[in-house]
């Protein structure tokens, strides 16, 4: 009932290549990228990307939006921690969306952020499927954004 992460290739441990499937209205949390490079290409539909500043260390207020854009089919985007944080969402109520993601080096945990307070929380990321096979959920811990 939320977007799925489907691993396609793990590049001998050097990168993770995955396909994300977003239903209507599905969106991610605000999250960082654990010091990795992150490339994203839209394969189907549209995804809105909202960039945020890192919250202040002592910050206890609403996070600052830097910019937002809607990425169309075949468009690419790149982000890493020095650029900032982002939220990705399928804002369509009629069309699903599909995106291709490349992370190098691969990472399986990141931080999600509460937009209202800037508080962060570490999460572990899981896959819905790997190499075409459904991954059975073994942990009850929260999924990450992507």
């Amino acid at each position: 009932f939320r977007y799925t992460r489907n691993l396609v290739d793990n590049g001998n441990g050097k990168f993770n290549l995955m396909i994300l499937c977003w239903g209507e209205g599905h969106g991610s949390s605000i999250h960082d990228h654990t010091d990795s490079h992150c490339f994203m290409k839209i394969l189907q539909g549209n995804l809105k990307e909202t960039l945020f500043e890192w919250p202040e260390k002592k910050g206890n207020g609403e996070m600052t939006k830097k910019s937002e854009r809607v990425l169309r089919e075949n468009q690419c985007a790149y982000i890493n921690d020095s650029i900032g944080l982002h939220r990705v969402e399928n804002i369509s109520h009629t069309e699903p969306a599909v995106s291709l993601h490349l992370y190098s080096p691969p990472f399986d945990s990141c931080n999600t952020f509460d937009q209202r307070t800037g508080h962060k929380h570490k999460v572990t990321m899981t896959f819905y499927s790997q190499f075409g096979e459904r991954t059975v959920c073994v942990s009850t811990r929260r999924d990450a954004p992507h």
Binding site: E24, H93, R116, T117, H121, T140, R142
Partner: protein, 313 residues
């Protein structure tokens, strides 16, 4: 839709006429006995002829399982739609709905309901009478409050409420034991303690009703006028576990913050039977009141731990 559709394709099970500029769907649909999926998104439906008359009597009323009317121009849920008793999945996302009719409860097989991206301002409590509802999407609307009856949706797994006008949630939301996902971002949820100071003292009728209920005074329908029997049946239990009292109309609204697994603090609205139940500074023994407050908060926190994927951020 072309005339003769059911003659050429009598075994049709899935029909997708999305993005065709369709403004109405007529009687051609009524004689498709095997149709279980109808996709008609991104069209110009919404006016009077959008769904054919006599839909309730057609085989379609029992056979149709999936109906997608997203991206059209519906300003209200068409009454004909509510006759599709076999419907499991309904999408009216991205239309122009201002409300949800209470008759929605007639779609008693509904498991998936997508109403995101409309102009809905309120949710009828009758929505809670859908026993199989698992996935409810109400994001991107203008909803100001959630009726506490929604906690009766025992099958609910996923509730999407992001981008609305909610300032708090009813405390009963913690009773949704199977709820795994809840999205709340983009709502003006209060972050500080809020106390409703306009407490209207209870009427004599209410005080009598409270006494009857809390002291278990026996009564039979023959003892009282029907209106009072009904009134007594509407008593709500004070959620303060140390209180055990009831209230009818006169209650104190208080927002308490419930901690979700140390991650988020959600403002939940509590209805308490009197200021003595809620006030931490009452003339009654301070320690006992604060004890009861923290007890009910612990109880709420335990319930909150069950909800695993609260997507507030």
């Amino acid at each position: 839709l072309p005339a003769g559709l059911s003659q050429w394709f009598p075994a049709l099970e899935v029909l997708d006429v999305s993005g065709t500029g369709l403004a109405e769907m007529g009687t051609e649909l009524l004689s498709l006995p095997c149709l279980h999926t109808l996709l008609a998104k991104n069209n110009r439906l919404g006016g009077p002829g959008s769904l054919p008359k006599g839909l309730g009597q057609a085989p379609l009323a029992r056979s149709l399982r999936v109906l997608n009317l997203s991206g059209n121009r519906f300003a209200e849920v068409p009454p004909a739609l509510l006759q599709l008793r076999g419907l499991r999945s309904l999408s009216l996302g991205g239309n122009r709905l201002h409300g949800i009719p209470p008759e929605i409860q007639e779609l008693h097989s509904l498991e998936f309901l997508y109403l995101g991206g409309n102009f809905i301002t309120a949710i009828p409590p009758e929505l809670a009478k859908l026993p199989s509802l698992r996935y409810l999407v109400l994001c991107d609307n203008k909803i100001q409050s959630i009726p506490p009856q929604l906690a009766q949706l025992h099958s609910l797994r996923s509730l999407s409420l992001h981008n609305n006008l909610l300032t708090y949630l009813p405390r009963e939301i913690l009773n949704l034991v199977h709820l795994e996902e809840l999205s709340l971002r983009g709502n003006p949820l209060v972050v500080r303690f809020v106390r409703d100071l306009t407490y209207n003292p209870p009427s004599l009728q209410e005080l009598a009703g409270r006494t009857v209920k809390t002291r278990n005074v026996p009564y039979a329908p023959s003892d009282l006028p029907e209106s009072l029997v009904r009134y007594l049946s509407l008593a709500s239990n004070c959620p303060n576990p140390k209180c055990g009292g009831v209230y009818f109309d006169s209650c104190v609204r208080q927002i308490k913050f419930v901690d979700f697994c140390g991650k988020y603090r959600l403002p939940l609205m509590h209805y308490l039977c009197s200021p003595e139940c809620s006030s931490p500074f009452s003339s009654a023994s301070q320690s006992s009141t604060s004890q009861s407050e923290s007890d009910s908060e612990d109880e709420a926190s335990v319930a909150a731990h069950r909800m695993q994927k609260v997507l507030l951020g």
